[in-house]
């Protein structure tokens, strides 16, 4: 027997998650964490943060859900195939923004969105769009990595 594998790892019964207190607190906080992540992404050009940090926080909200409620519940919210799809869409959106700039002159050139006044929410050209694209890719990508790492079940050792 391998001492590193817990005893019920190899059975296939559904994972019940953690205790009741953790589940109640998670129901309250996971929506707030998601909202906070979206706030950091959208205000990336005004305050520190941006696409990557916001994406990590959004992925953390899904991981929080997985840890508290069990893998099956979280997979019903965002399955692996949807996470892969979102990830590819985020990457293609970023590349499309860059290539649209190419049509206007240079790569990443900003000719189709106004720059606006500083310190407004709708300003700074293509930077908020790039932040949203990066947030999709990073958030979905990190959640997909986490799913791959925890879905890996070691097979039973046959002596």
């Amino acid at each position: 027997m391998n001492p590193l594998i817990p005893k019920n790892q190899n059975t296939l019964k559904p994972n019940p998650g953690m205790t009741l207190i953790v589940k109640v607190v998670t129901r309250l906080t996971v929506g707030l964490i998601l909202l906070f992540g979206i706030y950091i992404v959208l205000h990336g050009h005004l305050s520190p943060g941006g696409g990557f940090a916001g994406g990590v926080i959004i992925a953390l909200s899904f991981i929080h859900l997985t840890l508290a409620f069990g893998k099956d519940f979280a997979l019903r919210k965002l399955s692996e195939s949807k996470a892969s799809l979102l990830e590819s869409l985020g990457a293609i959106m970023f590349l499309t923004i860059a290539t649209l700039g190419f049509l206007g002159g240079y790569f990443f050139y900003n000719f189709f969105i106004s720059k606006g006044k500083p310190f407004n929410l709708f300003s700074a050209g293509i930077i908020p769009l790039c932040n949203i694209a990066i947030c999709l890719k990073v958030g979905a990508g990190l959640f997909a990595i986490f799913l791959v790492l925890i879905l890996f079940r070691l097979p039973e050792k046959k002596e």
């Binding site: 590349l95 290539t99 002159g105």
Partner: protein, 497 residues
């Protein structure tokens, strides 16, 4: 001038599209692979035409003027590396259409392959130091994943070793970039060389930066004593990836980045050149000695790569015009014949299911195209006239004699004789002789694999024609771009409009 960003955009776009659609439609990865790499090869040939009259083309990303913005630079050395890189990757993409059928999830292979290609193209065209680091990491991480693609025991162990050593080398490079930023206050390569020229040349921090870069890029280029990952990683990868790794990746990540930073940004003096010559000679000798006793075909080819990279670094370290010309000529020759040899070993593995030289024999009776192209590749790498390898080795030895390193030239000749010895052993054990009993029923490989091997053998035979005066400017511009040295800064900043 607008084709410069396409070298990065086309493989990235291909990778993301294949990751979106590749699982559902089976025809998309193969056709996109062929179209993207084919178009990249045509663009690289066009870029040679653009730089044919020795002008430097600069592309400002986003319209920001350097040194505030990132710029992409196309000069002679860049277009030379682009042609080498895209030719080999085009043929490897054709080859892997039928070779990768025996692995599951062919679309994942194509995604990683295109990411590696985007990283390598980005290293070659960029003119900004941190951009070079980011693309270096993209290419390295994709290659760690590609080495472990088959997920057998040996492949995972080789990939783990390669990943740890590669990451430590990348952190050395990042430390060097941090220190270089602290003295130069800018990240544009042309601007850094202007700032370093203002420093006194014997400052201690510059010596520390040089040592860090030699350690970091030397590991990526598999020089001795940083070679320990290569004999495990290159045999364990699938055959088209071994061809890419050994043929192109160690040259772009290791040799190109090293010589770009040392010749154009920091500037060379006698100590750096003598370190390069010593590392080159040691790699030459040790690679050849370690290759002689190998029983695994791909492991022998991997050690031979170490030896030939030693030749290239030795030639570049001499720093006369003829020597740099010879070193770059050997670079493109080695890319062509090493990838041909690795693709041959992949074809042997596809048909006969073995890599061990003791179990093979007489394959020339069954695998006709594979056997003959392998013979051409082996003779070319050993330096038999009139194949292409002979000319490049002859030029290296002549350049060494001309620069008064006669003893080292004799060492190079002896190592070349050793190379001939172990390649003749490879040919005799694998292809000539009587057909082994277990291999009576094998057939020739599919036509896509034959086509790429034939084209590479064709380039091997006629590679010596690059020396005729009509085609010589291709290599001459590349060598001149290195010999400009610090004038690179003036050329780049002058070409910014």
């Amino acid at each position: 001038m607008y084709i410069l960003p396409l070298f990065v955009v086309i493989p990235l776009g291909g990778a993301f599209l294949i990751s979106l659609l590749g699982k559902r439609m089976k025809a998309i990865p193969d056709s996109l692979g062929f179209i993207c790499t084919g178009s990249l090869f045509l663009f690289s040939l066009f870029s040679v035409f653009l730089t044919s009259n020795m002008e430097v083309i600069v592309y400002k990303v986003g319209g920001w003027v350097p040194p505030i913005g990132i710029c992409m630079v196309l000069d002679g050395l860049t277009s030379f590396m682009l042609v080498t890189l895209n030719l080999v990757s085009f043929l490897v993409a054709i080859y892997s259409v039928s070779y990768m059928e025996r692995y599951t999830d062919k679309w994942k292979f194509y995604v990683l392959f295109f990411l590696m290609l985007a990283g390598m193209n980005g290293i070659v065209v960029t003119g900004d130091l941190f951009n070079l680091f980011v693309f270096l990491e993209i290419a390295s991480i994709s290659s760690y994943a590609l080495v472990a693609f088959g997920t057998e025991e040996e492949e995972l162990e080789a990939s783990f070793k390669y990943a740890i050593m590669g990451s430590v080398a990348s952190s050395f490079i990042l430390l060097g970039i941090a220190l270089l930023y602290s003295i130069a206050a800018t990240l544009n390569m042309a601007d850094i060389s202007l700032e370093i020229a203002k420093l006194q040349s014997s400052s201690r921090i510059l010596k520390f930066i040089i040592v860090l870069f030699i350690m970091g890029f030397g590991l990526k280029a598999a020089l001795i004593p940083f070679h320990a990952w290569l004999p495990d990683a290159h045999p364990s990868a699938p055959a088209p990836i071994s061809a890419m790794l050994s043929g192109v990746l160690i040259k772009v990540l290791g040799v190109y980045a090293l010589i770009r930073i040392f010749f154009n940004v920091i500037g060379t003096d006698k100590t750096i050149l003598s370190i390069l010559i010593i590392l080159g000679i040691i790699s030459m000798i040790m690679g050849a000695f370690l290759a002689i006793g190998q029983k695994d075909m791909k492991r022998m080819l991997a050690y031979s790569s170490i030896s030939q990279i030693g030749y290239i670094i030795f030639a570049i370290g001499i720093q006369t015009p003829l020597a740099i010309f010879a070193g770059l000529f050997h670079l493109i020759n080695h890319a062509v014949f090493k990838s041909l040899l690795f693709l041959n070993s992949g074809a042997v593995e596809y048909s006969a299911d073995t890599r061990n030289l003791d179990e093979m024999g007489g394959l020339n009776n069954r695998l006709i195209i594979t056997g003959h192209t392998s013979l051409i590749g082996s003779m070319s790498i050993s330096g038999i006239p009139p194949l292409s390898g002979f000319w490049s080795k002859l030029l290296i030895i002549l350049a060494a004699v001309q620069a008064k390193y006669v003893g080292l030239a004799i060492v190079a000749i002896l190592v070349s004789i050793l190379t001939l010895a172990y390649y003749l052993r490879l040919q005799r054990d694998a292809f000539f002789g009587r057909l082994n009993e277990r291999l009576k029923a094998i057939k020739e490989v599919p036509w896509t694999m034959q086509v790429s091997m034939l084209i590479l053998a064709f380039v091997c035979i006629f590679g010596g024609l690059m020396l005729i005066p009509f085609l010589r400017p291709f290599l001459h511009n590349a060598a001149d771009a290195l010999l400009e040295g610090r004038n690179y800064a003036g050329l780049v900043l002058g070409a910014v409009k």
